[in-house]
């Protein structure tokens, strides 16, 4: 059963704290993505990872960084979180040669 997992599902942090969001997939997909979802703004692309240690900025990378040391894991890191980073974060993965992306269940992050 193909699956993208995200941990944690819910997270509350204070402004200035560091945040680590984890994503895993069991499909050996090369490409993985981080998006954020905000009401009225749709899904916005933060970062792309083409494979281990091969990452590229998306449309809104400012304030975020990523890490991919194993093909099945992709992390999103917020160094010194800001209140405007309160959002729902989705991870997705894609099989090479296909355009479809598979999404994880999301992490709802609140930065106070």
């Amino acid at each position: 059963d193909m699956k993208v997992t995200q941990m944690p599902r819910y997270l509350i942090k204070r402004m200035g704290e560091n945040v680590l969001l984890e994503c895993g997939q069991d499909m050996s997909h090369e490409t993985m993505y981080w998006y954020r979802q905000d009401p009225g703004l749709g899904l916005q692309l933060i970062y792309i990872s083409y494979d281990v240690d091969s990452n590229s900025e998306g449309d809104i990378p400012k304030g975020y960084r990523v890490s991919r040391k194993k093909r099945e894991h992709f992390s999103l890191i917020l160094d010194s979180a800001k209140t405007n980073q309160t959002s729902v974060y989705f991870c997705a993965s894609r099989l090479g040669g296909d355009a479809e992306q598979f999404f994880g269940p999301g992490t709802r992050l609140t930065v106070l």
């Binding site: 993208v4 490409t31 993505y33 998006y35 009225g40 703004l41 749709g42 899904l43 916005q44 692309l45 792309i48 083409y50 998306g58 449309d59 989705f90 894609r94 040669g97 296909d98 355009a99 479809e100 992306q101 598979f102 999404f103 994880g104 269940p105 999301g106």
Partner: protein, 113 residues
């Protein structure tokens, strides 16, 4: 760059009535168009996809036809059900599949008894 426009932010309708969600796009390349559906507190899931001009694509009672001449990929269903209440995204994949999808802002559909 690529863009996707969904003109309706919210659609409310009565169960059993037809529904159509509009999607138009702009891209310089031949591409895939998608409809994703997201139920409350769940992940977006693929509903339909197409890259073939003028071919009707169907799944779970929904259908859409990609019209490259008008850059449209409207989603339709003949009879809405309560379980169709969800957020629907139209999305575009450009020429390079490795790049992220470009999403519209989404249309929330609420179906009432």
């Amino acid at each position: 760059g690529d863009s996707v426009t969904q003109t309706e932010g919210l659609v409310t309708l009565t169960e059993g009535l037809p529904v159509m969600l509009n999607c138009t796009y702009q891209t310089a390349y031949s591409t895939f168009l998608f409809w994703y559906v997201q139920h409350l507190n769940e992940a977006p899931k693929l509903l339909l996809k197409s890259s073939t001009d003028n071919k009707r694509t169907e799944h779970q009672g929904f259908h859409a036809t990609l019209h490259k001449s008008s850059s449209s990929f409207h989603l339709q269903k003949s009879s809405a059900q309560l379980s169709d209440s969800a957020l629907y995204y139209c999305a575009l994949s450009g020429n390079n599949y490795a790049q992220g999808l470009t999403f519209g802002l989404g249309t929330r559909v609420s179906v009432f008894p």
